[in-house]
């Protein structure tokens, strides 16, 4: 307890305060002095001003933390009661540190988890490290050959990413951190030991403190993080080291997840390459266009397939195949790949559709697949401006021909499906397309699309025919686009089977395909 007059002079001091204040003044027995924070608070109380902060004034004397409670005394004196709150103050500080840390970690986690792209993840990790942990951060990625991806971030500055050949072995602790083995804790290194490549170009001033932290990738190397502070900043505290470790654990998990995803996506893309429907274009003076929609929108492949195998020259037939394997999804897609390969191998025999179908049937029967397939084959040749077709259906919906007058004809080819019975029978039918006319091959996913305005009707062959009647004279890709659009609208958000369609069109006189058989430009819509 101490009593202070209106001029700030000490009037009375009790024994406890005397000991305390004398200690604060240096313990040399000189007159007790009021600490500056209390003097400020006193002036405010004397002048009738509110306190600088809500609540009682607080401050430190020696290493202790005090709250000061004023009581007005006589003649403008103020009685100050000092309460030692050191313990509570420490606890509160620790709590707010922990809160800030968990807030940072929550923000870091949600930012890191947002992307599965490795460079992006590195960018986010380096940026957040520079924001919360140090003045600058360098993320060294696992080596790609002899080069390392390096991500530099400076607080408030832009991020730069380069892939360079750097000597990681001269940075103490970095080789071990990059290998992820043996397990090493974050370690301090001497700023003098770091090579120039570690320091970002725009780093201000000499480096004061450096920490190298491994990014634990759980079985995969995820990289290492180098944190830098300039000599004017204070070195890392124990709490900050803890935060750096927790940060590194999260960044490592995120980077290894992104790495795994990228690897898997690349493998999938490679394996799928041959299962995707091919882009179609004009061949030997005939227009081709294809459309495909897999039953699951997340997938891009399914049990429907088509191919166009150009004849060796314009006088030879081009073989078109479109088919449907029983079932859908990845397993069906794998079988479409086998069928497409088999058909490719059988191209020398392509003029004899029945023989091709018989050999394909034999191949499917002897494979371990229990699935069967339906398909339609078309041999196509342009002759004197007209397009001659030979069509064979193997258990498949018959092709439709759109005449220039809007008539839609069914090609009466019939046959058994392949992959189920010991022998196949099929009847090949010939047809001719005049310029502007189109033959459409399609799978039953189109006619069996369920939806419409009332929600539960089949699209059906009659709607397909009605749609095609409006397509008279249209180029091949416009016919396919029209069919795809109408079925998509019919379906709305409803589920569906795989759907595929191929249009074979005899080009009109104005078409580039009619010129020499190879329109440059190709089909612009299939750049997926």
């Amino acid at each position: 307890m101490l009593v202070v007059d209106r001029h700030g002079g000490l009037v009375r001091v009790n024994e406890a305060a005397r000991v305390l204040l004398r200690g604060a003044a240096g313990g040399d027995g000189a007159a007790a002095r009021v600490p500056s924070w209390l003097a400020d608070a006193h002036r405010r109380v004397s002048d009738g001003l509110p306190g600088a902060d809500p609540g009682p004034p607080t401050g430190t004397i020696d290493d202790r933390f005090f709250e000061a409670h004023p009581t007005p005394g006589a003649d403008g004196d103020v009685v100050w009661w000092l309460v030692d709150e050191t313990g509570r103050h420490h606890a509160e500080n620790a709590l707010s540190d922990a809160l800030a840390r968990s807030e940072i970690l929550a923000e870091v986690s949600s930012a890191l988890l947002s992307s599965l792209n490795v460079p992006r993840c590195m960018e986010v990790a380096a940026t957040m490290a520079a924001e919360h942990l140090a003045e600058a951060a360098v993320l060294v990625g696992p080596p790609q050959g002899r080069r390392h991806p390096l991500t530099y971030a400076r607080r408030g500055g832009p991020v730069t990413q380069v892939t360079r050949r750097v000597d990681v072995s001269i940075v103490p602790g970095l080789p071990e951190a990059l290998q992820g083995f043996p397990p090493v804790p974050a370690r301090w290194i001497n700023p003098g030991d770091i090579p120039d490549w570690v320091i970002p170009d725009d780093f201000a001033g000499p480096v004061g403190s450096v920490i190298v932290t491994p990014l634990p990738g759980h079985g995969l190397p995820a990289g290492a993080l180098i944190l830098l502070r300039s000599s004017t900043e204070q070195a890392f505290t124990e709490n900050e080291e803890l935060l750096a470790r927790l940060f590194a654990a999260r960044a490592g998990s995120a980077l290894s997840a992104a790495g795994l995803y990228s690897e898997q996506a690349a493998i999938t893309a490679t394996l799928m390459q041959d299962l995707l429907p091919p882009p179609l274009t004009s061949v030997h003076g005939v227009e081709y266009a294809g459309g495909y929609r897999a039953s699951q929108d997340q997938e891009r492949i399914g049990g429907d397939f088509y191919d166009v195998h150009p004849g060796a020259d314009a006088s030879r037939s081009t073989l078109v195949a479109l088919g449907d394997v029983a079932g859908k999804g990845l397993e069906a897609a794998v079988l479409t790949g086998k069928i497409r390969n088999t058909l490719h191998a059988l191209l020398p025999l392509a003029d004899d559709h029945l023989q091709v179908l018989s050999l394909l049937n034999g191949a499917l029967l002897t494979s371990h697949h229990t699935r069967f397939a339906t398909l339609v084959l078309a041999s196509v040749r342009r002759h004197r401006g007209h397009v001659e077709l030979r069509l064979t259906s193997a258990g498949h919906p018959p092709p439709l021909i759109v005449r220039n007058d809007g008539m839609v004809e069914e090609v009466p080819t019939r046959g058994t499906l392949v992959g189920a019975l010991p022998t196949v029978t099929a009847r090949t039918v010939e047809a001719v397309l005049a310029p502007g006319e189109t033959c459409l091959l399609y799978t039953d996913g189109i006619t069996e699309a369920r939806g419409g305005p009332l929600g539960d009707d089949l699209f059906g062959e009659h709607r397909l025919r009605r749609a095609l009647a409006e397509c008279a004279g249209m180029p091949a890709e416009a016919v396919v686009e029209r069919v795809r659009m109408l079925t998509a609208q019919w379906l709305g958000a409803g589920g569906h089977d795989d759907m595929a369609a191929v249009a074979i069109s005899a080009p009109k006189p104005g078409s580039l395909a009619a010129l020499d058989g190879r329109a440059d430009g190709g089909n612009p819509r299939r750049h997926r």
């Binding site: 949600s110 180029p475 440059d520 819509r525």
Partner: protein, 359 residues
């Protein structure tokens, strides 16, 4: 192609060529213009784009057939493809300015505007991934994880795709990729792009290129929001209820119309199906207006439909009984009833330009 091509006459001549299905003429015209030194971007945006816009206008006015419309679009696409394959006159290979993904909203069929934007960005030195029409949102998201572009340009022409657009916008932003929205679906001034939380909006291809050149900040992952935060009115569940009961609403409205309009009883199956499709469209636009909470989406669609019907000599007033029947069924949904009332008022008033509907 012996006559010199004057740039002013080019759009008209290209129009003649594409509606006549004359690809050789169309490609020849554009190549000749290029040879004469007409800027490639100007060809795309000041010749080809207006021709394509005219295709939509002429179809709406019933002056060209569906087949002509589709043929013209297909040939315009081929013309663009020819331009894209045309070697650029004086362009040494330089590192791209950045990478951008151009995609249509899932379900959107009008790929042409997106295609134009993609080509313009390529010309301006961007590495462009053009995903085209009918891109399921999961594909778009997987693509973004794989390529980490600077921005996604999301294109939509028809307003009914706005709810899907919203899902795509939040999905892109959640993985830290900013979204630049464009196309008629987002409103003439981009108001629906803002309502759905898109980072930016651009009125046309040049505007989009300018926005991209200015740079888009990456959405801050910590500021990530729930999709529902953008549209608090969805809490009333009216959108969900209308979408879920769409087939039922269409069926009941058909029955009610047959009671009110005796002529409908003699309709053929095809005519009845057309009517059902028209009603389904009304319900779709109503649902979208509920989703975005913008009456204008609904009223603009109705007045536009009335114009389409009038161009085909169908009396537009048959729309009003359909709205009445829907109001009757949706009487427990105050926002829907209000929208239907505003729709009826709009149909009685003067017609206004509206959104493009699928042909």
């Amino acid at each position: 192609m012996t006559l010199p091509t004057t740039a002013a006459a080019l759009p008209d001549r290209l129009w003649q060529a594409v509606t006549g299905g004359d690809e050789q003429e169309a490609v020849g015209l554009v190549r000749a213009a290029l040879a004469e030194g007409v800027d490639e971007e100007a060809l795309l945006l000041d010749v080809i784009a207006p021709v394509q816009a005219r295709v939509g206008v002429e179809w709406a006015a019933d002056r060209i057939t569906v087949a002509q419309e589709h043929t013209a679009t297909a040939i315009n696409e081929r013309v663009i493809a020819c331009l894209a394959h045309h070697p650029p006159s004086a362009a040494p290979p330089t590192p791209p300015r950045g990478r951008a993904t151009v995609s249509c909203i899932d379900g959107e069929w009008h790929a042409f505007p997106a295609r134009l934007v993609a080509e313009v960005l390529r010309l301006r030195g961007w590495q462009v991934d053009y995903l085209g029409a009918q891109t399921p949102t999961p594909h778009l998201v997987a693509h973004l994880h794989r390529t980490n572009p600077d921005a996604v340009l999301l294109s939509g022409s028809i307003a009914t795709h706005l709810p899907t657009a919203h899902a795509a916008i939040t999905a892109c932003q959640a993985i830290g990729v900013p979204v630049l929205a464009g196309g008629r679906a987002f409103g003439y001034d981009g108001r629906y792009a803002r309502a759905l939380g898109a980072d930016r909006w651009a009125a046309d291809a040049r505007g989009a290129a300018a926005v991209l050149a200015g740079g888009l900040a990456r959405p801050h992952p910590a500021a990530r929001r729930q999709a529902a935060d953008d549209l608090p009115h969805l809490a009333d569940q009216e959108y969900t209820m209308v979408v879920r009961s769409r087939p039922h609403l269409v069926k009941e409205t058909l029955v009610a119309l047959e009671e009110r309009l005796p002529a409908m009883r003699d309709y053929s199956d095809a005519q009845r199906e057309r009517t059902a499709e028209d009603i389904a469209h009304i319900v779709d636009f109503l649902a979208t207006a509920l989703y975005v909470d913008a009456a204008e989406i609904f009223t603009a669609f109705l007045t536009w439909t009335a114009d389409i019907l009038e161009a085909r000599n169908v009396r537009a007033r048959s729309l009003v009984p359909a709205l009445d029947a829907l109001s009757e069924q949706l009487r427990d949904f105050p926002r829907a009833v209000r929208l239907l009332r505003e729709g009826t008022t709009a149909l009685h008033g003067p017609s206004a330009p509206g959104p493009e509907m699928c042909a």
